[in-house]
Amino acid sequence: MSDVVVIGAGLAGLTAALRLARAGRSVTLATKGPGGLQLSQGTIDVLGYTPERVTRPLDAVAAVAPGHPYASIGADAVGSAVSWLAEALGPDLLVGDASRNYQLPTAVGALRPTALAQPSMIAGDAAGGRSYAVVGVRQLKDFPADLIAGNLARTTAPDGSRLAAHSAFIDLPARRGEADPTPLTYARAMDDEAFADRFARDVAAVAGKADVVALPAVLGVRRSGVWRQVAEVIGRDVCEIPLPPPSVPGLRLYDALLGMARAAGVRFIQGSRIVGFEAADGGTIASVTLAAAGGPRALRASSFVFAPGGFESGALDVDSHGAITEPVFGLPLTATDAGPLIPEVYWGPHPLFEVGVRTDDAGRPAGPDGAAVHPNLYVAGGIIAGAERWREKSGDGIAVATAVRAADHITGGAR
């Protein structure tokens, strides 16, 4: 029996568990897999598009429509939740704040707004007519340096300045005899100082003149500050550009949060799914059911934080007839028929992915009348309705703010 059972090990679940544990609660975190951070870009997005490009995210948060996850939280609480996480992770992992967005190059050469980024990324912030030397590694297939540079070179930054960019490649296997390395293969190689030095020298030899040398986000996973070592050898600022999964910057955040949560006493149960629950009078959740290897097992607690992700994790399901459900608790959703919510056009909103659980102001799942359906069950992150997170660039901020809201309500720390 714990005070709280947290379900899910993405950004929302880990944040909730850490905050609860640091507030002195005993916490058990149950998760099927390693969460979604390793699929993410490793920044903390708060709000990037409304759909216009956002430069001051908290101002935009204050103006979201009713029904948006931020609407019931408010800009101040979002800002302080994000600051709390940034302080917890420290400036070696996250810099910036929710009042201003960086505009960082992506691995196809678009400019992506994000509020907090890793210190290895921010020299890429597109402003003041910055010039980039985009250097790829021949063996690394997910960093198309020519495409990135070509697109940056035809980009006008939000401050109106024209960017400049050129590209180059180095040829440096991460491991002998491996033709198809992932970003993680390189990141692990970079944890070795000698390899990182060799990499930096090779990059310096081809980079040419530019304000900043843009590199794939593979500059170390366990050893911090690899980017500083590389920048020193090159003699220029460097910026890491996140790659499609597996994401090294996402893994850095995951490792750090997991380590802190463990240190704070959170107990982890990994590899098993939560498949159901038992309720007591008045809808209070008495326990959740873990599909453990030996058979179902009840995890009891006073409160539960449900942070399983959204459609991407299967926490929201669409069956072959188009019925949308939340399979674990059968929570009421903002829509139940997927059919009309899936448009025929790719570009533009896909309203299906805004479907989810609506909440009361405390972050508890609520019915259409706004009343909580289980008094001691809270939701956080991707399961909450009201935002197409990847389009808005709001997924991390929503996860952190709703996790902190849930934790604070449980500990009575909510304002």
């Binding site: 992506t106 196809v108 991407e312």
Partner: protein, 525 residues
């Protein structure tokens, strides 16, 4: 305006057109094929991949059954690289009339279609996902065929015989000299110039678009009724044998294992416009029900992609009866000399992919006759390029190849085991191609992730290999994503919703493709 001179212009780059241009070229005619987009982008690329044994027609259309059986054997010989020898079963489901199987066996014997009844136990042993309540099972020589490999094989063969294959050439006008066809005018869509091709004969193989082409020559209207059918590709091979329902041919009664997927089809609904073929939700549901009837749990399997194709059915009462001798069954040849007093043009409709070679033979025979030539058909005797090792395709070929080169060459599309060399080679052979054009030949982005991981890599390679600048490469990526979605949204349920959300996280979340600088003009081809 660019000018070319030839004997025959073949219009349409589907299986019929490619069969015809190959046949004509092999008989020594100078031939040019015009296709308004890419080869096999119409009906030929939008079927369920079945190489008919003839079984489907043994009761309803015995002539077609015999033709299918004969052509099936010929294609296995001349185009083995496009064909997988899956074999096929006709199964009587629990609620179906078991007596039909007797009619079927009698029909098969009468039409020369090899068919053997096997025990239910044996059928279930070989296809354990089949409904255990089936009553009877008959084994036939069905196969699966990759329509794109088929047409590209024919195209390469035709080119060896000096035919010209011009893709992305849209016919704009057919000129006459009195009562005779004189030239075809077309637009080179990629090169951006007009081309005039002087010719003595036009073979209109435009399938569902044949009516539009005939009109350009001033022929009286040819009524083409596109018969639309939808197909759904399921995530993997639910079966390794083609499964047909042993009933009088109806909707949604065939499940075909093709490459790494299995395809269920199809419906039959009349449409008016072959350029706009919907994939209605009710038909998706109908296909899932049909799949469930054969394979219990079908609805729980993951659907990857859906598409809609149209059969080019010609409704024409003015086709004179004497023309029927030129007809393969289910095929219609319109001789415009008799019908419209227009010499030097034939229009072809109907037909089946399995009998495409035979159709071509009939059509070119008809042209021979009009031209007073006696040049025999040799298409059944020559193996096409790409198939000359004589090996039938098997789904494990790519795995075998990657085992050989995995230490030298990265995989670009993990789902379909397409490596970098394959892609780069195709890029340089067809520098104007879109990612979709390359997809049809290489299966780029056709697996479970539907391009989630490979599409940006492909665009990056197009840029690095200098076949596209960043603007065009980005446009190609955007076009590819837009096109993949056409086949995704109608079947977005179950595991494919998860996949789509992940893909959205990658393209919108991490890469922000939507906010790349916009091209001056949207890339459309």
């Amino acid at each position: 305006m660019k000018r070319l001179d030839t004997d025959v212009v073949v219009i349409g780059g589907g299986s019929t057109g490619l069969g015809v241009v190959r046949d004509a070229a092999m008989r020594g005619y100078r031939a040019v094929l015009l296709e308004r987009v890419d080869l096999g982008q119409g009906t030929t690329g939008r079927f369920h991949g079945l190489l008919h044994s003839g079984g489907r027609y043994v009761v309803s259309d015995p002539g077609s059954a015999t033709e299918c059986a004969e052509e099936n054997a010929i294609l296995r010989r001349i185009q083995p690289g496009a064909i997988e020898d899956t074999g096929g079963f006709f199964v009587t489901l629990a609620g179906d009339d078991p007596a039909y199987a007797d009619k079927f066996l009698a029909g098969a014997a009468a039409t020369g279609v090899p068919a053997t009844e096997i025990s239910v136990k044996e059928a279930l042993r070989r296809e354990p996902r089949l409904d255990p309540h089936i009553q009877r099972a008959i084994e036939v020589a069905d196969g699966s065929v990759d329509g794109w490999q088929l047409v590209w094989g024919a195209a390469r063969s035709a080119m060896e015989h000096r035919a010209k294959i011009l893709t992305y050439h849209r016919v704009t006008k057919i000129e006459r000299d009195g009562d005779r066809v004189a030239a075809v005018l077309c637009r080179d869509e990629k090169g951006g110039e007009d081309v005039r091709i002087d010719c003595t004969f036009v073979l209109n193989c435009a399938g569902p678009w044949a009516g539009q082409i005939a009109e350009m020559a001033g022929a009286s209207p040819v009524e083409v009724v596109p018969g639309r059918g939808i197909m759904i590709a399921m995530n993997h091979r639910l079966v390794n044998t083609v499964i047909n329902r042993c009933v009088y041919p109806t909707d949604g009664d065939i499940l075909v294992p093709v490459h790494t997927v299995s395809i269920i089809g199809t419906t039959d609904v009349h449409e008016t416009d072959p350029d706009h073929l919907p994939i209605p939700r009710n038909e998706v549901q109908q296909m899932l029900d049909a799949g469930e009837a054969m394979i219990p749990g079908f609805r729980k399997a993951r659907a990857l992609h859906a598409w809609s194709g149209s059969r080019p059915l010609i409704k024409d009462k003015r086709v004179s009866v004497e023309d029927t001798r030129h007809m393969s069954r289910g095929m219609a040849v319109i001789d415009h000399s008799k019908r419209d007093g227009l010499l030097g043009m034939l229009t072809i409709g109907g037909g089946k992919l399995t009998t495409y070679r035979l159709m071509a033979e009939h059509i070119v025979d008809a042209m021979n006759e009009q031209l007073g030539e006696d040049r025999p058909c040799t298409t059944a005797d020559e193996v096409v390029p790409g198939s000359r090792d004589g090996r039938l395709y098997t789904v494990t070929h790519r795995l075998e190849d990657r085992e050989e080169d995995r230490l030298d060459d990265p995989i670009i599309c993990e789902c379909e085991l397409m490596n970098r060399s394959m892609f780069v080679k195709a890029l340089h052979e067809q520098p104007d191609a879109t990612l979709d054009d390359l997809r049809r030949q290489l299966r780029l982005g056709m697996g479970p992730c539907q391009g989630g991981f490979c599409a940006a890599r492909a665009a990056g390679l197009a840029c690095s290999e200098q076949v596209a600048d960043a603007e065009r490469a980005s446009g190609l990526l955007r076009l590819f994503l837009k096109h993949r979605w056409i086949g995704l949204w109608p079947i977005l349920y179950g595991q494919q919703v998860r996949q789509t959300a992940l893909d959205h996280w990658i393209f919108a979340g991490t890469l922000d493709v939507e906010h790349l600088p916009q091209p001056e003009e949207e890339i459309v081809r």
